[in-house]
Symmetry: C2
Subunit: 219 residues, 2 copies
DNA sequence: CGCGTGTTTGATAGCAATCAAGTTCTGTGG
DNA sequence: CCACAGAACTTGATTGCTATCAAACACGCG
């Protein structure tokens, strides 16, 4: 076991508070723990479990045959993942830090948690996933490198709930989420720092110094 | 009423056959007809209806303030749209041809169609939507212009079920779906024709002449 | 303190966007 | 039925953004 610093472990109460169905898996799900970098499920694996992050962080990734990689999304405490397919997973899921999830069989959830509650939970989670995917589509298809990075930082800061945020992922993960290279991400970050819009005390921590400018650049 | 040639009208039995829940809205939904280019729902409009295409074709689009446009997806007979949000629509939906849809209130569907059936219908549709969105993410984030266009043609041909397919959308819609410009799409099409991989008898009709090559180029 | 990984910076190349004409297609009206 | 007008599509020249190739730097960890 390696020495893992949980820079990226967020408490469940924060993000979870936004979801009306946050407690569904608490009783019906099985608690599972993963170390940093472990795989929660694999690309092309059969998809019969759904997961809710309790602590830590997860990314979903898709690999092309030549090594190009696309990150689908990042998942934090309260977020539900694994419902993205009717058959086999199109993306794999790996942890960004030591992570605890609740896992439940898709088909048995209604029996354990109650049908109406399970349905509401699934419907809410699916709608949220689609929302995020569509926002991501616009970002990938039509935004410039600068806009992509600005959008990313803005969302990260908003999720953290303040001007300061800590990122659980490195530059390569940011790049693969944004459809850019690691070098371009780095250059845009440097540029945003030069314009006094954000500051990076360390590579994984940043402070939004000019939110209005960041919003403007993200569109 | 203008003279509309339904180049783009597909019969419902074809695409609909793939869905186990195709008939749910047939009894519970309200039939609505739109002329080509009409709006089914608007960006930022409240989302309380779900739709299933009966005939024709629909695109979902998101507009940025400066006019850049991203198409979320194209919907054909049997496809369900409008479940992409928990609150207001992030994309608008417009018809590509004269189109008939079935529309149902999201909240009353379980009462009319039966709860279990409605749930299965919604869950299946949502999973399908997420699948397509994730495939689209990979395409936008990591594929080259040539790969994007090849993927697009391949999917269109597969949907048509043969080597020949008719496209309900023009070059601009293709470009906005693929995250490219209209000129680049046109150039890639010319290139694919030059390599004898596809042929375009007209701008809206094409024939796959070398499927293996198209598959290879789409990855 | 030194090594390795992760990040930043620099120089150059290349793909797709932009700007700008042509060309073809489609629908309309004579 | 043919001629015309406008839109859609294609082609060409050039620019510019982002990728690639390459190296330096910084930080975390043993």
């Amino acid at each position: 076991m390696t020495n893992v610093i949980n820079l990226a472990t967020y408490p469940i109460d924060r993000a979870g508070a936004a979801s009306p169905s946050v407690a569904v898996l608490a009783s019906a799900g099985v608690r599972m723990a993963y170390a940093r970098g472990e795989e929660v499920y694999a690309q092309d694996e059969e998809a019969d479990l759904i997961y809710q992050v309790v602590s830590g962080a997860v990314r979903t990734t898709r690999l092309m045959s030549d090594g190009r990689r696309q990150i689908g999304d990042f998942y934090y405490p309260g977020d539900v993942l694994g419902l993205e397919t009717s058959d086999t997973h199109r993306f794999s899921a790996e942890t960004l830090a030591d992570t605890v999830v609740l896992a439940a069989k898709r088909r048995t959830l209604p029996l354990v948690a109650g049908k109406a509650i399970a349905d509401a939970f699934m419907a809410h989670a699916a709608a949220r996933e689609l929302d995020r995917a569509q926002e991501h589509l616009l970002l990938l298809g039509r935004k410039t490198a600068c806009e992509k990075v600005a959008s990313f930082l803005l969302h990260a800061a908003d999720r953290a709930g303040g001007a300061r945020a800590t990122l659980p992922m490195g530059r390569q993960d940011m790049a693969d989420y944004l459809g850019l290279t690691i070098e371009t991400v780095s250059r845009m970050l440097t540029q945003l720092q030069g314009a006094d819009i954000v500051a990076f005390p360390t590579a994984r921590t940043f402070i939004v110094k000019n939110r209005a400018a960041l919003v403007r650049l993200s569109e």
